[in-house]
Amino acid sequence: MSSLPAAPGRIAFAPDFISGDLVHLGSARLLGSRCHNCGIVLFGRRHRCENCSSKRLETELLSDAGTIYTYTVQRYPPPPPFPASQPWIARPVAWVDLDARGPRILGPVDCSPEKARIDMRVAVRLRPAWEGAPGEEVIAFCFTPLSHYRADLA
């Protein structure tokens, strides 16, 4: 037994949505599934195509940039078990169309509510988002305005 505390473990927010090294997040990317039958790209690794039910799916890495299709602002904290900050700071949430004919996915936007707008360019950022088991960091995604994006923050 080591007398040193173990390095905190990291897990993805859900299986089948992130590919790569969770310790060095710069190399990790969101995962999608491209359907060879209907051509759609879905978020996450899938059993069948959610659109056409085909099994002819290919997993691919998704673009780490996209464009806001629509957004809202959560003025009140989402209900538990979400670990809301105290006090709550209003945050935008957006549907984002990922580049390279990627999927439209939903996520929080890391910017002030006033800044969010339709057609805004954003980057996908992977970051520790909440604690899983004691000492375990859960890695999830959010969007950041592309002009603010710095890879070293990951």
Binding site: C38, T70, A129
Partner: protein, 381 residues
């Protein structure tokens, strides 16, 4: 195969019933429906209990109160569309001749505020905070404003109409009119939606008794024909709550697709409707329903409310009961509450809310993970 009829309806007030057990609410609605149909509980050969948040075997627990006559009464769960799924089963069994008389009812007890999310979302969606139902409606509303110029005032007008109608409905949670200014001054919850534009989860039960028109003749009742009762799960992508991936497709929305099936079954179109009850979970969603159910062209929904077309007395009154805006939403009972209103309207029993000469009515519900139901009722000639 002849169409089923609804022989009787009953409901509790949709509201806050903190001191009443849910079986008590269900019993009140069922007893009212039986009396309305001129029937006894022993006439019921099959029952379906719709619920979402209540515990396992809710229907069986209601049988404990109504009398264990040995019939089947499974729970039917389908988020906010649960009651449409239950009604469809009752209608199908009657039309298939598998039973003569079926009871379809729903009941729920919900705390106010955001719905407890773990029943409706994956854990990770909750932990990311993407578990606030109104956020989805707000996202749709914002895009609609961007594309079609729909305004906050038009959305507020839906809330004003809902409360105006609710003030005439003794079964509504909110029975007080509100002004446009009050709606626009109410707290911003999820931009652009404000507190007075959002429906409140609440408590209540409602019931419908389904049988054939031949069977209905043996009882002292005023039957209404079920011209269509359709329940589907959305094609991709989901329009609303619980979605996390919504890559665009050419698929019709689940509102449009489910309504198209219902219109075809009923052999009529939106132009034939005299009254509609739709899922106005928020003021914007009602505008979306106008368009998706074919009451107006895409993008014209804001103008429809502005013109007063959907007021009582307008071209096509929508949510004369006050809708979810005024009644709130006891999930499992919600569609039966709509059915109750349409039946009253078609029988000319809606009192101050009566739409003159209403012969044909539509009721539509929509819920998490894509559950959608559309029923079309017609006055028997």
């Amino acid at each position: 195969m002849s169409k089923a009829v609804i022989a009787g309806v009953g409901m509790t007030r949709f509201g806050r019933h903190p001191n009443r057990h849910y079986t008590d609410l269900a019993v009140e609605a069922i007893e009212a429906a039986l009396e309305d149909a001129g029937m006894e509980f022993r006439h019921i050969q099959q029952a379906f209990c719709s619920k979402v948040y209540l515990p396992s075997a809710t229907g069986a627990r209601v049988m404990e109160r109504m009398g264990r006559t040995g019939i089947s009464c499974p729970d039917v769960e389908g988020a906010c569309g649960a009651a449409a799924a239950g009604l469809r089963l009752a209608v199908n069994m009657v039309e298939a001749g598998q039973c003569e008389i079926a009871l379809a009812f729903g009941v729920e007890k919900m705390p106010k505020g955001f719905m407890p999310p773990e029943n409706l979302y994956e854990k990770w969606q909750c932990m990311l905070g993407l578990s606030q139902n109104p956020q989805y409606w707000a996202l749709n509303a914002r895009r609609h404003m961007h594309e079609y110029g729909t305004t906050e005032i038009q959305m507020a007008m839906v809330a004003v109409k809902g409360h105006r109608n609710g003030a005439l409905n003794p079964n509504a949670l909110f029975q007080k009119e509100i002004t446009l200014e009050q709606v626009l001054a109410s707290t911003l919850v999820v931009d652009p939606l404000r507190l007075f534009m959002l429906c409140s989860p609440d408590d209540g039960a409602a019931a419908a008794i389904v049988c054939s028109s031949e069977t209905a003749r043996r009882f002292d009742c005023k039957p209404v024909r079920v011209s269509a009762c359709v329940h589907t799960i959305s094609k991709f992508p989901l329009l609303n709550a619980s979605a996390y991936c919504a890559t665009p497709t050419d698929n019709p929305t689940v509102f449009a697709a489910t309504a198209a099936q219902a219109y075809e079954l009923a052999g009529l179109g939106p132009g034939d409707l005299d009254v509609a009850e739709v899922q106005d979970s928020d003021a914007f969603s009602e505008i979306e329903c106008y368009e998706e159910l074919g009451f107006c062209a895409k993008g014209e929904g804001g103008r429809l409310i502005e013109e007063g077309a959907t007021d009582i007395g307008g071209r096509l009154p929508v949510n004369p009961s006050g809708g979810l805006q005024a009644r709130g939403e006891p999930l499992g009972a919600s569609h039966y509450g709509q059915i109750f209103e349409i039946v009253q309207q078609l029988r000319g029993q809606a009192g101050a809310r009566q739409i003159e000469g209403a012969k044909t009515g539509l009721a539509q519900v929509y819920g998490a993970w894509g559950h959608c139901g559309v029923s079309i009722l017609e006055r028997l000639s």
